[in-house]
């Protein structure tokens, strides 16, 4: 069930290890490139984790969710890494437009996965429903990995 607890802990699982890895390693240097490089990679990883979490976690729980609270909790999960993304923006590691576009893409993906999963669960019988939702999981995850490798500035690394 996509309740508040799952949303918060999913967000924390995405953000906490990355923050613990990134922030202590930020050092001042002659052109600030090491901090920017590190924060830029962190942004890529966060976006990938957000998208993969949506692709893998959302389809199985969609049939049990009410639309409005589910979307609010989804937004809460996506908002938890925003301070780290803000740090990346203000340090010049990523542009604001780039940051907005990636977050918008993640939201679009969430909307698409949610709608498709709801549609599959409404029209198919229980045996085919699990198969359909698994297919959505796999195809969404495959799409995320493919886009991550081609679209993200750091190549998803």
């Amino acid at each position: 069930m996509m309740n508040t607890r799952i949303a918060i802990y999913s967000g924390l699982f995405q953000t906490l290890p990355l923050t613990l890895w990134t922030v202590p390693q930020i050092r001042l240097d002659s052109d600030g490139s090491s901090a920017r490089l590190m924060l830029s990679s962190t942004v890529d990883i966060i976006v990938l984790l957000q998208a993969l979490t949506i692709a893998l976690l959302l389809p199985p729980v969609v049939p049990k969710l009410h639309t409005r609270p589910a979307l609010v909790n989804l937004l809460l999960m996506l908002a938890i890494p925003w301070p780290l993304l803000s740090l990346a923006w203000i340090s010049g590691a990523v542009g604001l437009a780039e940051l907005f576009s990636t977050q918008a893409a993640v939201l679009v993906l969430a909307g698409a996965v949610f709608t498709l999963s709801r549609f599959i669960s409404a029209v198919s019988r229980s045996g085919f429903r699990h198969l359909g939702l698994s297919l959505i999981q796999l195809s969404a995850a495959g799409l995320v990995v493919y886009l991550g490798l081609t679209w993200l500035p750091g190549g998803g690394t």
């Binding site: 918060i8 240097d29 600030g32 609010v72 908002a79 993304l85």
Partner: protein, 488 residues
């Protein structure tokens, strides 16, 4: 409207338009700029030289003069009065190709641009100035250059390795030229002095650094010179003397702040607040970070190392200015003009701004990204009279406080080891003993040993450039004064 009236109206409109469009150019009309480099345009790569710039205008007005060489920009704001030419002497550090681009602006309009090609010399330079005749046996490996006028800034001597002077002509020097020459002499600059002038000979003896070792009275054989610039600690050595900064500590605080943020989220979830309310936590934290970044956070620290011979009044210094930034804004650092434009490694940008209204202060601008540390190097000379004297009598050297104030404690390097020098009361003397020997080295004692060399004696005391009368605002200054011993 008849055709004739239309033509007349068009004419008047054209005339009005021409008048309006040409107005800014009129205010800069008859502006002229002439640039003359010191020492015939010769310079040593990586060192500074001087440009004499004459500006003239037909009307009063403010101007901006910009000198650009590889990665380095020097801007000078001033005011020109009609038909009163103004002459400036500005230090420049040309790039390896020697190109210096000059641009003179009047108001917002670009008026004059000029490009000068200075000549880099791989060989040491000797300058022949002020009425001195060309040396009879100029050496093969040196490049000789003449200049009928001596530089007006200390940086004008920076490219020279030896100066050939006629003492008789020194009486004609202006105030700035005299001060610049004083600083060259105080900085152990090599001089061959011909001609006899008692007053100047005495003055030079009083000024010259390194106890006058580099003042050669007559030309007989070209002296075997060691470079006057060598010997002072470089930027790397000075960086080792800087303690960890507040900004570095602030960066390490971010980790703690983020942990607090995560803790708040967990507590929020436990207290079962609505998701809408919990959304406020990441939003507020993100906004706080963004707002914090609008505060211009910068820390500038200057560490200096001054070297002087005991009983001498001319000291040489090298200094390192370290500017640390969390934000990507351009926050200027105000520095005494006498330090001149800083030296950096090739490729690093310098933007040094001078203003006619405040001739004693220069502004060092730096466009840099967030999380940067910029190092700027300075070298120069100072006039100072240390309160301690150091004499290497046998069997042990003697340090004496000649001042009326107690001196701070420091270190003495003698006989290959370092002793702790205690604070000395007025007129108190001290000699090292086994009890003062220190075993644990730090950055200062290591540098003291390195600078002292083998079989030599020197002491070092805390001394900031503020103690030498230089004024700094918003800059932490620390440093050391090294006094070399006079052999008894």
């Amino acid at each position: 409207m008849t055709k004739g009236r239309r033509t007349a109206l068009a004419f008047w409109l054209w005339a009005l338009l021409t008048l309006v469009c040409s107005q800014p150019a009129w205010s800069c009309e008859a502006l002229a700029m002439q640039l003359i480099p010191a020492w015939g345009g010769w310079f040593r790569p990586g060192r500074t030289t001087e440009l004499a710039i004459t500006l003239k205008a037909a009307r009063n007005g403010e101007y901006l003069l910009t000198l650009t060489s590889t990665g380095k920009v020097i801007r000078y704001n001033g005011y020109l009065e009609a038909d009163h030419p103004r002459r400036h002497w500005l230090p420049v550090q040309p790039g390896a190709n020697g190109v210096v681009h000059a641009r003179l602006q009047c108001g917002n309009e670009e008026v004059i641009e000029d490009e000068h090609y200075l000549i880099p010399s791989g060989n040491p330079l000797f300058g022949v100035g002020m009425g001195a005749t060309w040396p009879p046996y100029p050496p093969q490996q040196w490049r000789g250059v003449t200049d009928s006028r001596l530089p007006h800034t200390p940086q004008g001597y920076s490219s020279l390795d030896l100066l050939y002077l006629n003492a008789v002509h020194l009486t004609t020097l202006g105030r700035d030229q005299s001060l610049a020459l004083d600083r060259y002499l105080a900085g152990c600059g090599h001089v061959i002095l011909t001609g006899k002038h008692r007053e100047w000979a005495e003055r030079i003896e009083g000024i010259a650094g390194c106890n006058g070792r580099n003042i050669h009275q007559q030309y007989s054989e070209f002296p075997n010179l060691e470079s006057s610039r060598s010997g002072l600690p470089g930027m790397g050595a000075l960086e080792a003397l800087i303690q960890s900064s507040t900004i570095s500590r602030q960066v390490s605080l971010f980790g703690t702040l983020f942990l607090g943020y995560f803790g708040l989220l967990v507590v929020g979830e436990r207290t079962r607040y609505k998701p809408f309310l919990l959304m406020a936590v990441p939003l507020t934290f993100s906004l706080s970070l963004i707002l914090f970044w609008q505060i211009p956070t910068q820390q500038a620290r200057l560490v200096s190392w001054v070297e002087i011979d005991t009983d001498n009044s001319g000291g040489r210094f090298s200094a390192l200015l370290q500017v640390e930034k969390l934000v990507s804004q351009d926050i200027p650092v105000s520095l005494p003009t006498i330090l001149g434009p800083p030296e950096t490694k090739p490729g690093a940008d310098i933007d040094w701004r001078l203003n006619q209204q405040q001739p004693a202060k220069g502004l060092l601008h730096g466009k840099s990204q967030a999380f940067t540390t910029r190092n700027y190097g300075f070298q120069g000379t100072l006039r100072l009279s240390p309160s301690l004297s150091l004499v290497t009598t046998l069997p042990r050297p003697v340090v004496r406080n000649r001042d009326k104030e107690p001196t701070p404690g420091g270190f003495l390097a003698w006989n290959g080891s370092v002793h702790r020098l205690p604070s000395l009361k007025p007129e108190q003397s001290w000699s090292p003993s086994e009890a003062d020997l220190i075993q644990v080295e730090n950055g200062t004692t290591r540098l003291l040993m390195h600078q002292t060399g083998e079989n030599a004696t020197a002491l070092v005391l805390p001394f900031s450039l503020r103690d030498a009368g230089l004024e700094f605002s918003d800059i932490e200054t620390v440093g050391w004064l090294m006094i070399r011993a006079r052999k008894s």
